[in-house]
Symmetry: C2
Subunit: 359 residues, 2 copies
């Protein structure tokens, strides 16, 4: 049995951090007293838990529960710009994004780590807002940030705050969810409207005033995945993805490559909210390429499609769920769209770099 | 039982990466075809393993062995400048640094993850050298990089390559190693000479020509820790640390704070190689503040000190091991040094920012 460590590390002596007017200095990353102060005065209060407070370079944690059959691990670098945007921020995104990557294996998230790469001169007030938001998100999902690291790079060698989070979780025996598991005939389900995160960020960056304003869909998806797992047999759950960078099109292409299949989508069935459509038309984007940060894509056996869709719709985060297409037997691994007018077009990967720093 | 996933993801169609003349472009981080190409053509061949090749956003992995009592997790952002230096590079350091943080809990490392934050314009040839070096290091320690992420930031918003690695491992029942476990009277052991990594990097940055040249001590320490664990009872092993940022002084201050003790070191007993001493004198540094990337600091019960020292010296990485001092009962938590001349001085934390981007 593993107990949390006792909180050992005391506040080092020295001046208090000026969290209102202060800035990140190179000394905060040098491993001396300033680093210890930043950790004790800014990180610990926001991310509070006994493992972090032990002050070691690693955390010793309870093992997954006995029903665990596998360990699941995911990592993500977060560089979204700007760091604060309508409906979310970098800290919150760093927690949800990694929790979601663990959940997309059909797994339960357990622990998070966070490595911060800070630019000299970043306001401590901004850093504190982001870390507090991270702490709130971690408490909301019940997954503590158990260890961390802070590095500081010189002015002009970074951009404010970057956060790399890693998540560890577990999954039960029999769950085989993965990108290579899609089979011809499978149903493709989407938990809600497409592209709110991307459109909100693009509109915010472009200074567009929308009425009502667009908000990021940023949200943790592990309870939605749990609902799905409880509704259908493990073997019927083939692929789960949160369509972030690259959007729905990117996620489907990855699955097509990994499983050796194609996709046929019904344009009329894909939920896209009018303001998202408007932003896309204004700025020249395709909603199929816009990232979501709180939507679930599920590829399920046809026999389980109805139960899976009902389970999604019964969950507060899946009210807008829809069956948007099916997996096809296609040696070319194409993603095709049946348009509203009855035509058919091939949906390509996002190409070029229209959407940098979106997550 | 968990089996490695089958290698699913095929090479996406499109032009091959120009790994000789090419540069990192924003498109490589956008989640589209260019991202998939970078992963399939540069990352997979270098870091090859079935979990990574599954192409999912997370890896499903075998559980730790039955003798595991706890899970251990550590994370580290790596921003060392320059990325290639005498005796090592960023890729190798990213593997060793995190393996060492896991090992410093008295644990066995199992898996690594890596999040890359790349600056637009970084030569793909440099990235490939670093990732190959990372792969070699991972194979050397027997700990695969099972999942990863790649983000690209605009020119001038990053600095070449940053790598955040996270390690997961396990430790056996009864091991209680941690910063808060030092007790008055404990012996302080060091596995070899101090400061080679820091001095090599400083000399390289300053363009100093040394004969013979200085090399980083960068090395994985998990087998040295294993040797120590086998030589002494679990309860006698109190604290383990690799004195990286902040050097030996920083590591001892952290332990002093966490355990509520002081330290008394014998200057004459602390091994420092002459060229390291020379670099320190030339550039105005104290070897006690210089980072090591392949040295082990061990605080052990006095009854186990002799056996622990013998075990270190019997290991190829611990030939230069020494007992350098002891833990004292000190409410002020001071780190003190008995000088060669018989005097006594207080060793402070590193203050200011003399050593940025050292790891």
């Amino acid at each position: 049995m593993s107990r949390p460590p006792r909180a050992g590390m005391a506040l080092p002596t020295g001046p208090r951090l000026d969290r209102r007017q202060g800035q990140v200095e190179l000394a905060h990353g040098a491993g001396g007293r300033a680093t210890a102060q930043l950790i004790a005065q800014l990180f610990w209060p926001a991310l509070d838990n006994p493992w972090l407070r032990a002050g070691d370079d690693a955390a010793a944690l309870p093992l997954p529960p006995p029903e665990a059959a596998e360990l699941v691990m995911a990592t993500d670098g977060h560089v979204v710009a700007p760091a604060e945007f309508p409906g979310g921020d970098l800290g919150r995104l760093a927690v949800y994004g990694t929790v979601n990557d663990v959940a997309m294996m059909g797994a339960e998230p357990l622990y998070l780590s966070a490595a911060f790469i800070l630019e000299e001169g970043t306001p401590l007030a901004l850093l504190q807002r982001l870390v507090r938001s991270m702490g709130e998100a971690a408490r909301q999902v019940g997954v503590p940030v158990v260890c961390g690291d802070t590095k500081v790079v010189e002015r002009g060698k970074g951009d404010g705050v970057f956060i790399a989070t890693t998540g560890v979780g577990w999954r039960a025996a029999g769950v085989r969810v993965g990108g290579a598991q899609a089979r011809s005939g499978d149903a493709v389900l989407l938990s809600g409207p497409l592209g709110d995160h991307g459109a909100a960020l693009l509109a915010h960056r472009a200074g567009l005033e929308l009425q009502p304003p667009l908000h990021s869909d940023s949200a943790p998806l592990h309870t939605l995945v749990r609902a799905l797992r409880q509704a259908v047999p493990p073997a019927a759950l083939h692929v789960l993805r949160d369509p972030t960078r690259g959007g729905l099109a990117g996620a489907l292409h990855e699955i097509a490559q990994a499983s050796g299949v194609g996709f046929e989508l019904q344009e009329a069935a894909i939920p896209v909210r009018p303001p998202v459509q408007a932003v896309c038309e204004l700025l020249g984007f395709d909603p199929l390429h816009l990232p979501c940060e709180g939507r679930l894509l599920a590829v399920v056996a046809p026999s389980a499609a109805e139960a899976a869709l009902a389970a999604l719709r019964a969950h507060p985060q899946g009210e807008g769920a829809a069956c948007i297409g099916r997996v096809t037997d296609d040696a070319l691994r194409l993603v095709q769209l049946r348009t509203r007018l009855g035509g058919r077009r091939v949906v390509d990967w996002l190409s070029g770099e229209p959407l940098p720093r979106i997550c």
